[in-house]
């Protein structure tokens, strides 16, 4: 009996796959549209920074098939700027209004009968630019006298906050060593293979917008969009298609274009469809932040870290778009990583430069923080001539300290980091890897081993971004906290079960896991459960926290589904009690039947029970009509930041310990990953196959970030990575098969004990590879991506030869 042994925890085949494997997926560009729907194309800035003297659109408007041409003039007349998280004089329009601030910024939208005609008309638009000096270096943007992007701001610094936890000054004064790293973390993006897409419509009679988009949330941005469109939220209906071609956070970046195309539909008086092309995606959609970090540690002789001093300069690009500067604050409760460090100072500056605005991207702040922290741990070992593994071990949070409150307010839910590390060393063969390194070096080969320990946060606290505000500003703004997840389970007149989730899946297999959970609760099989993944804000249960980000599915959404299923089961048991004449506590749900425990013959089919309140509600016990169950769940641990600026930014904290061996080709500077071991403690594993997929997928993104990918800009702000021949994603020959290991410390804070697992390797792997390369080359400072050019320069500087 499958249900008795439980569906959850098994790698069952996904319910999503039959359609996707046969070309019957339903992605945004596969869905039918209303007759008369127009197609949009966007004219984008070729200048990084310029005032726009004039835009000549007459010829375009008169071109064949063109219905309308929309510029900043129309958009500013019909909408408001996108409101930023900070109260700062920043006008965040979705299209240039008088000025362009990055290459790729929209200047005009043409809507026409088809995309070909729309692009023809783009060719006919003339823009008269008055170029301004461009800024691409965030440190240069801080300089007094630097050109400013937003004149009313008066500088390029949108926020400058300092924080102090414990007694860092005393710790630094007392420590025998101060060891620091300087990091420039580059820009990159997870570039889903499906680009952005949407269909927008406007109903003038009701002053209401309807937008179908492969947007993934967070749905807090629904409020931002409604406000920009100058309507109450109930007049903005957002819908998502059944399937989406990946997101990795990136499709949050649809927000400005959703507003822009809503206005275009309003101006044109017809529905407007826009499918972003790849060149648009690379140059102008969204990017992770680049960051300049100086991180210093107060260190004892044995490598014990007593204090950290963070100075982070976050480059959000040309506009501060909500939820930014979230990338900078997502990790704020967790700046001490896996380590027990009680004294921390932080200075966080958010600067604007002439680059594409930043937004969500897998890892979201983790890669930037852990690159600095874990490079620092290796430098500590190097400078004090200690074993890097010993430095990690000596600083770990002890197993008996959980739940552990970090210096800056994070609450680490569970774990046994030391045990996970020992298991990884043993099962992953660290000793053999080190022996390989020594023997290879003896042959004159250039080899290194890198280690890293990382705490992977998941389930964002809706209040953490408010840490960027002062306590006084927060009091004025009102409290923000929690992370509402929701699930609805409905019973139909045939007794079949349908589940609605608001997690906006983008390929992760949510529907399969939800079916497993509900099948377990109700004694059914996953095939009996239909799960609806598309979201409609006009009909479905949702909250501002809905969506697909911060790895919240397994810990929050799946847990909420579980709670809803248990609640529905309890109500059904109550109903069955009357029908089977036994107490509700003795009702069990097994194998498609509802029966009395201990008397399996006293039973009825599940479907009959589940249908009964459709057909005979008059007989419902206590008048409880068991037709549908909706649960909203939020964890109490996600409180708002307090007056000491302590914040538990994330609910769950998984643990990762990685090590790898690399070999560098002395001639070419190419880095080959010989072995990669990744140990995960992500709490309870709900579907091992999907967890493995998240790990190998994250690893591939991270290898890209470490070795290949960069959203590079020329000094004048020209974008250099504009095609997939320039922005290099790893292919099958660049990504090795890692050895994946697990320990399980269930989270006490989530209904199923699960934690997020989707982003960890994006945090751990870039720095793990960098540590291995640093070990191979004896390099103290190195920044990503580790291109052959950079590696060869390091080799030649080490060997004293000209490159």
């Amino acid at each position: 009996m499958a249900a008795a042994s439980g569906w959850l925890g098994r790698s069952i085949e996904r319910v999503e796959d039959a359609a996707l494997l046969t070309g019957r997926g339903r992605y945004i560009d596969d869905l039918g549209v209303l007759p008369g729907t127009l197609h949009a194309a966007i004219l984008r800035s070729s200048h990084a920074h310029a005032n726009i003297r004039a835009i000549e659109t007459k010829a375009a408007a008169a071109a064949p098939g063109v219905a309308a041409v929309i510029t900043g003039a129309e958009v500013s007349a019909l909408s408001s700027p996108l409101v930023p998280v900070l109260r700062a004089p920043l006008e965040g329009w979705p299209i240039a209004v008088g000025r362009v601030r990055y290459v790729g910024e929209p200047i005009a939208v043409v809507v026409a009968a088809d995309r070909y005609l729309a692009e023809d008309a783009l060719d006919l638009i003339d823009v008269d630019y008055d170029p301004l000096p461009a800024l691409v270096d965030p440190l240069a943007a801080l300089e007094p006298g630097a050109p400013t992007l937003h004149d009313k701001l008066g500088s390029n610094v949108a926020s400058d906050r300092s924080f102090r936890y414990g007694d860092p000054e005393a710790a630094f004064a007392a420590a025998p060593h101060r060891i620091a790293v300087d990091i420039r973390y580059p820009r990159n993006s997870c570039t889903p293979i499906e680009t952005f897409g949407l269909v927008a419509d406007y109903d003038a009679g009701e002053d209401a917008y309807d937008i179908l988009a492969n947007f993934m949330g967070p749905f807090s941005l629904h409020a931002v969009m409604a406000r920009a469109l100058k309507i109450p939220g109930n007049r903005l209906r957002l819908r998502t298609p059944p399937d989406a071609g990946g997101s990795f956070g990136v499709k949050q970046g649809l927000v400005p274009t959703m507003v822009l195309m809503a206005i275009a539909a309003r101006v044109a008086g017809r529905p407007v469809k826009w499918i972003e092309d790849r060149l648009e995606h690379l140059v102008g959609s969204v990017s992770a932040t680049n960051r300049v970090t100086r991180l210093a540690a107060a260190v004892d002789d044995d490598g014990r870290v007593r204090a950290l001093d963070w100075d982070q300069v976050e480059d959000v690009g040309a506009h501060l778009r909500a939820p930014e500067p979230a990338t900078l604050y997502r990790m704020h409760g967790n700046l001490t990583g896996a380590y027990d460090i009680r004294n921390v100072t932080v200075r966080n500056r958010v600067v604007l430069t002439n680059k594409t605005p930043s937004g969500l991207n897998r890892g979201f702040g983790g890669p930037q923080v852990y690159y600095a922290l874990e490079r620092l741990m290796q430098r500590i070992a190097g400078e004090l001539r200690l074993d890097p593994l010993d430095v990690i071990r000596r600083n770990l949070i002890p197993a008996d300290a959980f739940p552990y409150r970090t210096a800056s307010g994070g609450l680490l839910d569970s774990g046994d980091y030391g045990r996970a590390i020992e298991k990884a060393i043993d099962e992953g063969g660290l000793a053999q890897l080190l022996a390989w390194r020594e023997s290879a070096r003896a042959e004159g080969r250039v080899c290194g081993v890198g280690l890293t320990a990382v705490v992977e946060p998941s389930v964002s606290n809706m209040g953490y971004i408010a840490t960027v505000l002062t306590p006084e500003e927060r009091r004025r703004a009102g409290p923000k906290n929690g992370a509402q997840a929701t699930a609805t389970i409905a019973l139909d007149p045939g007794g079949a079960v349908t589940v609605h989730i608001a997690s906006a899946p983008q390929g992760q297999g949510h529907r399969t896991v939800v079916a497993q959970i509900v099948a377990d609760a109700l004694g059914l099989t996953p095939a009996d459960i239909r799960v609806i993944g598309e979201l409609d804000t006009a009909r479905d249960a949702w909250s501002i926290a809905s969506g697909n980000y911060s790895s919240r599915f397994a810990p929050a959404v799946a847990g909420t589904v579980h709670l809803a299923a248990l609640r529905l089961r309890a109500r059904l048991a109550h109903s069955a009690a009357g029908k089977l004449n036994v107490p509700a506590e003795e009702i069990e749900f097994v194998g498609g039947k509802v029966r009395a425990r201990g008397n399996p013959d006293n039973a009825m089919p599940f479907a009959r029970l589940a249908a009964s309140d459709h057909w005979s509600p008059g007989e419902a016990s206590d008048g409880d009509h068991v037709l549908r169950e909706t649960v909203f769940w939020t964890p109490p641990q996600l409180a708002a930041p307090n007056d000491a600026d302590e914040i538990n930014a994330q609910l769950c904290h998984a643990f990762i310990f990685d090590f790898c061996g690399v070999e560098i080709d002395r001639d070419t500077g190419a880095v080959r990953i010989d072995k990669y071991v990744t140990m995960h403690d992500c709490g309870r594993v709900l579907h091992p196959g999907m967890v493995a997929g998240q790990i190998t997928g994250g690893l591939a993104h991270a290898i890209g970030a470490a070795l290949y990918e960069e959203y590079a800009y020329a000094p004048d702000g020209a974008f250099l990575a504009g095609t997939f021949a320039d922005y290099l994603l790893p292919t099958a020959t660049e990504v090795p098969a890692p050895l994946i290991l697990h320990t399980e410390s269930p989270s006490p804070f989530t209904p199923l004990g699960a934690k997020g697992v989707g982003e960890g390797n994006c945090m751990s792997t870039p720095v793990c590879i960098a540590n291995a390369v640093a070990d191979a080359l004896g390099a103290a400072t190195l920044d990503l991506p580790l291109t052959p050019t950079k590696i060869c320069t390091l080799i030649s500087s080490r060997e004293g030869a000209a490159p």
Partner: protein, 170 residues
Amino acid sequence: MPRLSADARHRVAFVLNGRAVEGQAEPRMLLTDFLRHVLGMTGTHVGCEHGVCGACTVEIDGVPARACLMLAVQADGAILRTVEGLAPEPGRLSLLQQAFRRHHALQCGFCTPGILMSLDNYLRDNPDPREDDVRIFLTGHLCRCTGYVPIVAAALDAAARLREMKETQT
């Protein structure tokens, strides 16, 4: 010598998944757009339109090729197969498709049709490939979800089962 004028639509006819199909296209229309928006065969996906990502890979006259690097009018008279033609019948999957499902060799599924069309062709000519060769062959495709590990495993597993099936048939 046929000359198709830029401003008009022209008849394009070919065999798609074993059936004769036709539609109208301007000379500049890409084969991807013709398949998806004229013929309604949306299984072939568009990821980059410059021939790098491989999502639009279809079989043209017996070989895998990028549909985005071809004009619809070029395909006139050709024999095409797309992902919609892979399964032996509705409700059943091919061995390769089954292997993908078993190994979780897809997540979002957007790159998958192109990879399936490539591998289906490759495994016919290379029944017993080495893992390294599969990996090199797959460099013509970008996947952002899986890290390729399960795709390689699925391809090798499918190859083994195809060999097995052939042996039992002979």
